[in-house]
Amino acid sequence: MTRKDDFDLLAQAFESLKDVPPPSPVRREAGRRVVIARAEQWQIARANRSNGAAPHLAGPSIWKATDRFTDNLRRFRMVAVIVAVILAIGAAGGVFFAADASSPGDLLYPLDQAAERVRLTLARDDDATARLQIKFANERLREIEQGPDDDARRQQALDAFDQAIASVEALLALEGLSPESRAAIEAQLAALREARAALAGDAPAQLPAPGVSGEREIFGTLQAISADRVTVDGVTYLLAPNAQIKDALSPGDVVKVHLTVLADGRLLVREIELARDRRGGDDDRDDDRNRGNEIEIFGTLQAISGSSVTIDGVTYPFAQNAEIKDTLSPGDVVKVHLTVLADGTRVVREIELARDRDRSGRSGGDDRDDDDDDDDRSGRSGSDDRDDDRDDDDRDDDDDDDDDD
């Protein structure tokens, strides 16, 4: 055997090594968008430096940035899931870069929002997150001011603006904010609330300052997850700034969510993970109850307009012929009867002040159910499905909450 033959055989071995399992195309596309978004951020930072502004992105060392990136890799997997959906929507053409100018109701609007979520995922520190959230809230306001051409689009734009304001409010809970950023957020928040009130024809809502008042766990079916929020059983919760996402999650997973209850009743996700053999046969029953059905929630009213209410950071549109039974003001703890439409949308059928018996000491969460909470929920110390009337042997922390009243 000659040296050349020997080399040829090695070359064949190398050839087989080139045949590697392909990477996920969705992951690859998500990574590409991440790189582009990061380059844009650096461009902004460089422009700020040349203008004499604070070099926001140049602060952390590369290692710190990389550590943060590594932390975010798990989130990227979820971003990839989102991008997969987006790719499916936008597969007809190269539409990504046109999305930024889109408005609610446009085909490209979900792409715009997904791109924002990617940018939030990449924010290097709390100050950067704050800047982005404020920027996005102002973009939502601009979208409304540009005048959506029909009521449905306008409502969608208003809802998006409400969500954006709630996201900016949540920023104040960030621990790593610089004093300058905190002051800027408060100023921006005041302006945003004023703009929102003007849009609704109301006085600005005066919200209590955030503070932590407790913890809560819920179990439910994950419907959507993004860089800054999750939707579980139809309710969207903002992620706390340092929220831990403990597993690779996908829509449809049954999850356990640890919520931080703020002093004003709003809920932030502190931790989310796959539920492990604790929820038992609850899922189907919950799903049944939340589809094409009525549910009741309690929470703190944050804003109310002619078309929607915002409870604990979640905005619900009014159903036609909705009843507003009391004179309500922001800050009131309210009981809301929601109708769950076939597509999962929740609309307000009736809203009233929560009476003491109703409230049972609860100021947040939802899906309290007075009828069918009779199975073993050992390990569930959460908010949902509380039973005010029964006295089952299988009482858990939920019932303890009730007893506190």
């Binding site: 064949q12 090594l17 590697v20 392909p22 590409r32 650096w42 590369i62």
Partner: protein
């Protein structure tokens, strides 16, 4: 990478389209290089993502590649692989991910390909880390000796020695694994 110099110049201005072009051109080769070192798809995807984020960050900090873009990227990839190997020292390079593309309709030929690849991968995994990196960069990724030297931070002479020993070791391992017949020894 034909327009390496132009891409470097554009990326130095943090032009996002330049980074997109670099990503498009080198994602596949970098992924393959990393995969052949770590043997796991998700790990390779994570690391190749990190390579490109470092490219953007270092460029933003004024510490990006100056002349040799491709070698710079492979060097970052190599360092990440080394770090990953340290972190997961308990893990073997094997078993490897076997989610190969379905390019071969004939099941028996497909099986032969898979076996050949497994044996080649096993033989590669038995090399020292430096030998494996040098052999992969030179013969799988097609880098010049000088580029391999930049990636590994050694001299061109050191690369030649690594390649000579690496190829000899690879051949020996392939013989033991049955890929090369005994008569060629």
């Amino acid at each position: 990478l034909d327009d390496e110099r132009e891409l470097l110049q554009r990326s130095s201005t943090l032009d996002p389209s330049a980074f997109a072009a670099i990503y498009d051109a080198l994602y596949g080769p970098l992924y393959r290089y990393i995969y052949n070192q770590v043997g796991h798809v998700e790990t390779a995807e994570d690391l190749v993502d990190e390579v490109f984020v470092r490219l953007v960050d270092r460029t933003g900090e004024g510490r990006g590649p100056q002349k040799h873009l491709r070698a710079w990227l492979y060097r970052v990839a190599h360092n990440l692989v080394v770090d990953e190997a340290r972190r997961s020292a308990h893990r073997s390079h094997l078993p490897l991910d076997e989610r190969l593309p379905d390019g071969e309709p004939d099941p028996s030929a497909q099986a032969e390909r898979r076996i050949a690849r497994q044996q080649a991968q096993q033989a590669l995994a038995l090399l020292t880390d430096q030998q494996r990196a040098a052999v992969s960069l030179r013969y799988l990724e097609g880098l010049a000796n000088e580029e391999v030297a930049q990636v590994l931070g050694i001299t061109a002479g050191g690369v030649k020695r690594l390649l000579r020993r690496g190829l000899a070791a690879l051949r020996t391992h392939l013989v033991h694994l049955g890929t090369l017949s005994e008569e060629v020894t």
